[in-house]
Structures are given as structure tokens and as C-alpha cells.
């Protein structure tokens, strides 16, 4: 498997997890926050579809979503739901950082743009910025 395919599969797996996770996030929210969660959920579905198309174009079989995911913590309130959204976005940002390391300049730029989108969503949920989104702490 090429480096590009491996990195794309990693990003796709993170997007699958985000699509699942936002279902949990949305269930705990209402009003404008629910609308935000729906918009972010849609963004991750669009990204997932784009990654699947890229993988198919490269002759690879896109990794499938898991039937269920273990949440990193119990989501029992709007606050914990928003924390989960931050966790999901940070995970997606990390996955795209892996894709930035490939040598293909088009994929690099695509991944860097995706990092910006995910970092912005993370900031919108947390209210805080990060010096190095996606990088190991």
C-alpha cells in the first residue's frame, strides 16, 4: 500500500469516527448549538465522501466505518457533548497532519486546508485556539 493511500485511509477513518461522533454530540444539544453540530456533521460527511472518491481513484478500497465506536468519555450533557466535538475535531486534524507528510503537493494542500477547517471547528466548540493543531503535545 502506498504512503498516500495509507495516509488517506487514516484521514477517512477519522472522518468516519467524526460522522458517528457528531450523531452523539447532536443528541445532547438543542437550538443554535444543534444547528452547529448538524453543519459540522454534514461537513464531515462531505469530507468522508471526498476521501472515498480519492481512494477509489487511486485503485484502493476505502476503509469502512465501524458499526460503533467507543467514546473517549461519557457524554451525558451539552457540555460533555461539546467536549466530544472538540475531541473529534482534534482527532481529524491529527489524521490530516499525517496526510500533509506525503510528497504529492496537491494532497498536501488538500490536507492542510482540511486541518484549517477542523481546527476552526474545534475552536468554535472550545472557545480556545491552539498553537500547533494536530501536532503531538
Amino acid at each position: 500500500m502506498s504512503t498516500e493511500v495509507t495516509a488517506l485511509q487514516g484521514a477517512l477513518a477519522a472522518e468516519h469516527a467524526a460522522v458517528y461522533g457528531y450523531g452523539v454530540v447532536g443528541a445532547m444539544l438543542a437550538g443554535p448549538e444543534l444547528a452547529d453540530a448538524r453543519a459540522d456533521w454534514t461537513a464531515h460527511q462531505v469530507a468522508r465522501d471526498a476521501l472515498e472518491a480519492m481512494l477509489i481513484k487511486l485503485g484502493a478500497t476505502p476503509v469502512a466505518a465501524s458499526p460503533a465506536y467507543t467514546l473517549p468519555f461519557a457524554v451525558t450533557s451539552a457540555k460533555s457533548a461539546e467536549q466530544l466535538a472538540v475531541t473529534l475535531e482534534n482527532g481529524v486534524t491529527r489524521a490530516y497532519l499525517g496526510l500533509v507528510a506525503v510528497s504529492n503537493p496537491t494532497l498536501r494542500a488538500f490536507a492542510a486546508q482540511a486541518m484549517q477547517a477542523a481546527a476552526n471547528r474545534s475552536t468554535a466548540w472550545s472557545g480556545a485556539t491552539q498553537a500547533f493543531p494536530g501536532m503531538p503535545a
Binding site: L97, V100, P105
Partner: protein, 158 residues
């Protein structure tokens, strides 16, 4: 220990087909990748300068701007750490652009936002020629700066 003598070194070089070091030639030119890195360092210096100026003039913005400035200082430290300085020729830590600050608090926030957006664009332009690890640093900093632009666009200073 093997020591080269005036008579054995030319003989060795002749046998090995090596012309030997050109000791009087100019130092190697700075690589394009290093040039891009030095531009990134200068850009962070310039951003920090605007933040410092903005906080000095509009102290009411400090709670919002200080965390963003601190992240730029972290960016600068990481970028600076990637520069391998030629011996005896340290990379200058200087500000290369000192724009006039906006006349109102709102104008300054808009100015900072525009500077962040320009920084993201410039960082993206450095991706293609960078090593994988440097590209990741550029992409991460670009993502951070994109969030700065969003924060500054969210009614700060209005």
C-alpha cells in the same frame, strides 16, 4: 591516528580521483527550502510586532490578543529551531515590516485579521517545497493562524 602529510595527501587525492576541497570557494548558497524557512521566521517576527504594537496602543484588546501573540511566539520558536545557521553567520532576528497601526480599535482588529489571513496564505505557499516534517509544521501553524483569523472576525474590538 592517521595524519595526512604534505606528501601523502596529494598522492592520495591523485589516486582517488578526488580534486579535494576547494577551500577558497564561496560558502554554499542557501537552499530554497531554507530561504522559505527564513521567510517564515521573518513573517512571525512581523506578526508579533503588530500584536505588540496593538496591545501597547489598545490595552483593552490585551485579553484577546495576548493568547494569540503567545501562540505566534511559540510558532517563531519552532520555526527558528529548524534553521541551521551557517557558522559565524547567525540568522537575523529582525522585524522587516512595521505597518502603520489602524486609527481605531476595530480597524486594528481588522488589520490583524488580514495579517493572519495573509500569513495562512503564505504558509500554504511554502508547503510544496518543504520536507515532510517541515510541511507538517507549516500546515499546523497555518491551521493555528486560521483560527486566529476566525477569532478576530468574531466581533472582537467592535
Amino acid at each position: 591516528m592517521l595524519a595526512a602529510s604534505p606528501t601523502t595527501l596529494p598522492l592520495f587525492l591523485a589516486l582517488s580521483g578526488c580534486a579535494g576541497p576547494a577551500v577558497l570557494s564561496a560558502p554554499p548558497a542557501v537552499s530554497p527550502q531554507t530561504q522559505l524557512l527564513l521567510h517564515a521566521v521573518a513573517a512571525e517576527h512581523n506578526l508579533i510586532w503588530i500584536y505588540n504594537k496593538a496591545v501597547a496602543v489598545y490595552s483593552g484588546l490585551a485579553p484577546t490578543l495576548a493568547p494569540l501573540r503567545a501562540e505566534h511566539e511559540a510558532h517563531l520558536a519552532q520555526l527558528r529551531g529548524r534553521v541551521i545557521e551557517p557558522s559565524g553567520k547567525p540568522v537575523p532576528d529582525t522585524v522587516t515590516s512595521r505597518p502603520t497601526l489602524g486609527a481605531t480599535q476595530g480597524a486594528v482588529v481588522g488589520q490583524l485579521r488580514a495579517a493572519e489571513q495573509a500569513a495562512v496564505k503564505a504558509m500554504m505557499s511554502r508547503l510544496a517545497g518543504a520536507s515532510p516534517s517541515l510541511a507538517q509544521l507549516y500546515a499546523s501553524i497555518a491551521a493555528s493562524e486560521a483560527t486566529h483569523a476566525s477569532v478576530l472576525g468574531a466581533g472582537v474590538g467592535a
